[in-house]
Amino acid sequence: MARVLNAALGVLIALVLGALIMLAQGYDPPASYTALFQFSLGSPYALATTFKNAVPLVLTGLSAAIAFASGPVNLGQPGQLLIGALAATIAGLYLDLPPLAMIPTLALLAIAAGALWSGLAALLRQAFGMSEFIVTLMLNIVADYFTLWAITYPFKDAAAYSPMTPPIATSGWLPELGDWNSAVFWMLAATALMWFLLARTRPGYEWRIGGQNSLFARLGGCPVDRNFILVMLLTGALAGLAGGLLIMGGPHRFLRGLGANYAWDGVMIAIVANNSLPGVLAYGLFFAAIQTGALGMELITAVPSEIVMVLQGALVLVIVASREALHQLADRLAARRQAQRRAKQAPLLESVEQP
């Protein structure tokens, strides 16, 4: 309950901050917000678009949340997403199987490539003791340049002017059901599966305990090193899948700057959701809604769509602060209660001690 309250409070404060910024620059906040949500939730088509745009956000959010909850500081979702997307693209360019075989093959390749990229960081950590925190960050930038090279030289669409690959075989395109892209079902299935894995199975329990207290987990007999590698591989796989689905569900080709829009969103969502997986789904959808509606808002009230990035950043700061403030308030109230109880007992104690 406190968590929902905190979330509602955070969203409200962030929206008010956004409204103040808009007011200061002479825009009309109510009309802007109406347009924002009209274009993201207001019609069945808009809702379906929001869900589709939520796919990479939720999957990278799951990746970050599982990593942070289990200990490894995997900040490499952007790079793992790009490598996964590249793997799915290359396979989609050279393979042409029937759709029933093609789609799982591409998804599995994306998963494997993402896991490979995070596995590299896990290997460097386990073999040499290099902190995965900075290694994953550096690998992000390396992946960024590497994919840019791949789509500029070896896999470039000869007919295109800017760096991009040709479209993948149509058998690898994710089917659309009406307005709904089937990537959405992958996202929901992955969320449910990950929740089950973390909340209801033994490995998930071991990971979470390891994240809370590594020494306790080790003394309790958990294979801490193996769990570290498993979590890194799993979280890389999730980010890689995000990249694969992005290609198969969206533009069907690797365009320049593909990952830039999602670079830090996964980490951001995991932080505001406090590593809870249902929370990741909820915030992922919310972030997708404001990102999707931003262009509509720009169309109607001319507020630059980039304001959404400010809103997101403000939301993270506000939620982190209000969570901590609520904690402190709760602590202080508990301390006061205890002090009052002691104060009641104190006269008794003194009367006992005096004789």
Partner: protein, 301 residues
């Protein structure tokens, strides 16, 4: 000879932003703050520098605004991490994300452009020609004629080393990180030392950002700090915050930068040469980890 001075000059200007940010981070490192907001502070400063320089037509105004912009972020960090006692890691990440969003929005809002803002109206930080040093044989071309901010960085290294190791302020700063409880019990507030460290970090990151957008190049582009804040964090970790060590490591990263440019003339695609500073960071971490492997003992973290 010309190639050598060119290499050195390139390395120095590549090293300067990393050095300035890392010196700022060194103060917070000594004070025991896990500060990863250098990236955001630099980015905000880079934007404010261009804005100030363009609006007032003077690089000095740009530098002042850059420092103010970075200080504003440091202040938010202080309110959250020192006063409200939020998690430093989460606060730093949130600040970096907020800055990325805010600068992108402000870029669009103030100049009406997406991606990059450049123009003749931006007044760059001047180069400084030192009359006597310029005549030194061999080294004259390196010692003189550098950007003003390069000399500021060298001076900042000296001052930082003096402050940290030779003053009572530095002693208290290090005590705040080493054992905050015993500093508190001796009558000096460790929270106050952390605040000072963060403010100093803001000033230095402000200078770093100003150099990025008014010295290294004369433009602002989205996310132009491009991981330099993280590299400076790696530099701090590698030498445990020692300002002299930070200076040497920053120069090494500067050389990696130049090496990338040099490779480009051997037909290596620019996408690979651009990776060199980041690969150099990985290599540096490898050597650091190998050296410290035994000392870390059995606990994995």
């Amino acid at each position: 000879m010309n190639i050598l001075t060119g290499l050195l000059n390139g390395a120095i200007s590549g090293a300067t932003p990393i050095l300035l940010a890392a010196l700022g981070g060194a103060f917070t490192f000594y004070a025991g703050v896990f500060n990863i907001a250098m990236e955001g502070m630099m980015l905000m400063a880079a934007f404010c520098a261009v804005w100030g320089s363009f609006a007032f037509g003077s690089w000095l105004a740009g530098v002042l605004l850059a420092i103010l912009g970075a200080l504003a972020l440091a202040l938010i960090f202080i309110i959250f991490a020192v006063w409200l006692d939020t998690d430093e890691f989460v606060t730093g990440i949130a600040l970096n994300l907020f800055t990325l969003g805010a600068t992108t929005y402000l870029l669009r809002q103030s100049f009406g452009v997406k991606g990059v803002f450049a123009g003749p109206g931006i007044d760059p930080i001047p180069r400084l020609h030192l009359p006597l040093l310029a005549d030194v044989p061999l080294l004259g071309a390196v010692l003189s004629g550098q950007n003003l901010m390069v000399y500021a960085a060298a001076l900042a290294t000296l001052i930082s080393a003096f402050l940290v190791f030779r003053t009572s302020f530095g002693l208290r700063l290090r005590a705040a990180g080493y054992n905050a409880a015993s500093l508190d019990s001796s009558g000096v507030s460790s929270a106050r030392m952390r605040v000072y460290a963060l403010l100093l970090c803001g000033v230095l990151c402000g200078l770093a950002g100003a150099f990025l957008s008014l010295g290294y190049v004369t433009l602002f582009s989205e996310n132009m700090s491009a991981g330099r804040g993280w590299i400076s964090l790696a530099a701090i970790i590698l030498v445990n915050g020692n300002p002299w060590g930070v200076a040497i490591i920053s120069l090494l990263f500067g050389f990696a930068d130049v090496l990338g440019l040099l490779l480009q003339s051997y037909q290596v695609p620019s996408q690979f040469t651009a990776m060199t500073p980041y690969l150099a960071t990985l290599a540096a971490l490898y050597f650091y980890a190998r050296r410290h492997r035994k000392e870390r003992g059995y606990v994995n973290r």
